[in-house]
Amino acid sequence: MRKALVFTLIVALLAVVGVSAQEDETEEFTPGEIVARILERGELICGGNQAVQGFGFLNEAGEYVGFDIDFCRAVAAAILGDANAVSVRPLTGAERQAAMQSGEIDMMSRNTTFTLSRDATWGAVFGPTTFYDGQGVMTRAEYGVSSIAELDGTAMCVQAGTTTELNIGDYVSANGLDIEILTFPDANSTWDAYLSGRCESWTTDKSGLASFRLQAENPSDHVILPETLSKEPLGPLSPSGDEQFAEIVRWVVYGMITAEEYGITSENIDSFLDSEDPNIQRLLGLGDNASGSYLGINNQFMVDVIRQVGNYGEVYERNLAPLGLDREGSLNALWTEGGLLYAPPFR
């Protein structure tokens, strides 16, 4: 007993000395490493979601489907030419950071908010925002509540390890409300606790609320309050150190947005393959134009992406329209239609 203790202490001491004395070159991802390991493995490992319908959901057929999952599929199509060569690792809010830091996943696309601290400490690079969201609160319609302040004196459920957990804490404290905040480990248990009546309301990104509302026996029993508590720009991210892979993720997303601008879809892509428009030629890597070759992958990567996954608008319509998340007039419309989606030029 005592020996073991002394032993542990010695080890701890040595370790601390070792760490602080360390000045050597550090090991991390280098450009090209992630693509190499994806090619070798033959599939992309993508951190995703399993519980949020429309975004990342394990359906009855045992397949992961959703808006976020489609961006994993697009990156797999770009690198491997096969959108189905994806293995999804479902992650709860609190598991994300460790999954990213340990480098065990190639990328993550799981309604994750881009924040300063995550950018700095997760050892990750955020890709372009794919969905501009904000935090909301859902409560039961029967209460007849129309604002968060009216929930004073009740309990609210939230999920651990999310930005929404921290936002609601700040909101409640800043507004002097007496709302008890219960933190659950994952989305399903949060939802169960809310349904059972343990909490009168629950909070997460408004897109998540819309998704879970649809799962309710009777969606009209639940209302999403009008307030938006925060900015939640959601998008994919990849481990830092490998700029090449980060660029691939970034340009796959931009490519899907650009394709929508030009009206290129998975249906009509073949008719664009002999396009004379130099902009389209550069996007698709046609003729002598360099596209994917800048990124060190198949020059015509966007052809695979669009054919197998579709452009941004198609992905949105397929996954999010059924949730009732209207795109028109929202932040997620193209910049030409008053939204925030804007891709730098392919050139």
Binding site: L14, A15, E27, G123, G144, A155, T183
Partner: protein, 564 residues
């Protein structure tokens, strides 16, 4: 002539320095080499993990503990809020872990000891039920059990939808604990008498059920209760005239006692209310005594409030305790010297009670304070109580505390809102805490029960026979002969169960209870400090384990046979 044998092979001798041939030195060297190897391996591992993190901008450090955490916690002391630091958040987690572990250790021990005894019961039903309990609980995963207690049990309790008392809320009237206390008192009283204690207990039970039926039909009516009390008293005194059957006598006396005592207790409570020791503002409280609620928002029980007379009263009571102990020791000395019997414990207890009670009466006969301070900080104003009450400036708690009684018991009160019933007063145990505690205690008690059973069986049967032949009753045999011997066998494995319970408490994160681990996870996520965060969590559990095993080692050394 040479005596040397030229054909003998020349012996090759490797001469090691002498100290290297010493077994102890060799052992020491091998140990040192081993420690060095392991240490290097471990430090390389730790260093490379640290580097990996450093490379990703997550330099492990402990300075983040002084940053604002922003993590909201439901289960936290009043001082905590989101603007506190990560260190404070950790502190709350540790407090919560200790709350569960400390109470859990005590309860699982009590339950486990009973279980161990029941496992050996000669009653088939008790034995089989406790065997099934042990087998089911030991052989299913704790996480599943916790999910059951939280999502299936706690979250399906009645929702608090109506006022108090009302449908929907499961209200336990004050009578219920009263029945239990009365039952125990009556049993203790009869345990020394010839009249059959089982009969009496049965009588108490019958009486309680009968009482509830009468109340359900006629309502709680003081006059009716008085009549019942008188009938009960008469039945108690004349029981032996009515029948000669001991069991019947016990039964009648049990019913009679319950009827009488429960009336006296009700009177006692009324008296407490008169002298301001109990407050229940808005219910005719003799009708229902809603003292405990079990609902989806947790367990709610009466709450003790201190007043300005609490400290002086506690001081005097402490003085009384010291005097009583002193006198007790003094009388013991006299008894030992002279051989005279003095019922010293009874006297000492009486003296203590008289001092406490006297002080209580003295304080509560003082006038209650007539001014009160409302509002806080800069805006605080002092005004007459009457005015504050009229203007409804006082919270229920403030109002209840305006009393001269040293302690005020505030019963749970509630209010109807559009969200259902909102609890306004009473101490509340959250469903998360309750589910975790119930889950841990029940799970651990199954293991402790087996240890206790084995310990008891380790005592030779001859000891029990010898105790019987001395005329000791079964409870006496258990208390005086079996348990002291069994304890020596029971204590060492018990320590392991305590360690298990303390570590298992970290499953709390699954059911939204903010213990050290759950809070640690949130902290690691928010601050990005996973290595340092984990090291703190580990340190907390390590310290807890070391303290528990140190205490158990100490207890063990006290209970082992002293041998020379």
């Amino acid at each position: 002539m040479s005596t040397a044998n030229p054909t003998a092979p020349k012996q090759i001798e490797i001469t090691l320095p002498k100290f290297l041939r010493d077994l102890r030195v060799l052992q020491a060297i091998s140990q040192i080499v081993f420690v060095l190897a392991v240490t290097t391996a471990l430090s390389i591992l730790i260093v490379s993990v640290a580097q990996q993190l450093q490379a990703r901008g997550a330099v492990p450090n402990y300075t983040f503990l002084s940053l604002r955490s922003g993590i909201p916690l439901s289960e936290a002391p009043d001082w905590y809020d989101v603007n506190d630091t990560f260190f404070d958040t950790f502190t709350v987690g540790i407090i919560n872990t200790l709350r569960v572990v400390s109470i859990g250790l005590v309860l699982s021990t009590i339950l486990g000891v009973f279980l161990g005894i029941f496992l050996l019961s000669s009653n088939w039903l008790i034995r089989t039920i406790s065997r099934a309990y042990v087998e089911i609980l030991r052989n299913s995963p704790l996480l599943v059990q916790l999910y059951f207690w939280y999502y299936v049990f706690m979250l399906n309790l009645p929702r608090d939808e109506t006022g108090i008392p009302g449908e929907g809320i499961f209200v336990i009237p004050l009578r219920a604990p009263l029945y239990i206390i009365l039952g125990v008192l009556i049993w203790l009283f009869y345990a020394r008498r010839t009249i059959s204690p089982p009969g009496v207990l049965g009588g108490v039970l019958l009486g309680a059920v009968g009482m509830e039926l009468i109340i359900a039909v006629f309502g709680y009516n003081l006059a009716l209760m008085l009549i019942l009390a008188i009938i009960g008293g008469a039945a108690f005194f004349f029981a032996e005239r009515i029948t000669k059957n001991e069991l019947q006598v016990g039964r009648i006396q049990g019913i009679g006692l319950l009827f009488t005592l429960q009336y006296l207790a009700a009177l006692g409570f009324t008296l407490l209310e008169r002298i301001g020791a109990l407050s229940y503002a808005n219910a005719t409280w003799l009708e229902v005594h809603p003292a405990f609620f079990i609902s989806r928002s947790g367990f709610i029980s009466p709450e003790f409030l201190s007043t300005q007379n609490t400290l002086p009263w506690l001081g005097i009571s402490l003085l009384g305790l010291i005097i009583a102990i002193g006198l007790n020791n003094y009388w013991r000395d006299i008894s030992e010297r002279t051989g005279r019997f003095i019922p010293r414990t009874t006297y000492a207890t009486l003296i203590f009670l008289v001092i406490c009670g006297g002080a209580w009466l003295f304080f509560s006969s003082q006038p209650a304070p007539d001014t009160v301070t409302v509002g806080d900080g800069e805006e605080a104003v002092t005004m007459p109580v009457e005015q504050a009450r009229e203007e409804e400036l006082l919270t229920i708690h403030q109002d209840a505390k305006i009393s001269s009684a040293p302690l005020v018991i505030l019963l749970p009160q509630s209010e109807r809102t559009r969200f259902g019933t909102r609890i306004l007063s009473g101490s509340q145990i959250s469903p998360e805490y309750a589910a975790l505690l119930i889950g841990l205690v029940i799970y651990t008690s199954a293991f402790i029960g087996e240890i206790v059973r084995a310990g008891i069986q380790a005592v030779p049967y001859g000891q029990i026979e010898a105790a019987r032949s001395l005329g000791l009753t079964m409870p006496q045999t258990l208390r005086l002969i079996i348990l002291p011997q069994a304890l020596r066998v029971i204590i060492p494995p018990m320590g392991n169960q305590y360690l298990n319970l303390s570590k298992n408490s970290s499953l709390a994160t699954a059911i939204a209870f903010a213990d050290t681990y759950a809070v640690g996870l949130s902290i690691m996520n928010t601050s990005g400090q996973s290595i340092t965060g984990f090291s703190i969590v580990l340190l907390v559990y390590l310290t807890m384990s070391l303290v528990i095993s140190a205490v158990m080692n100490f207890v063990n050394s006290r209970f082992q046979l002293v041998t020379r």
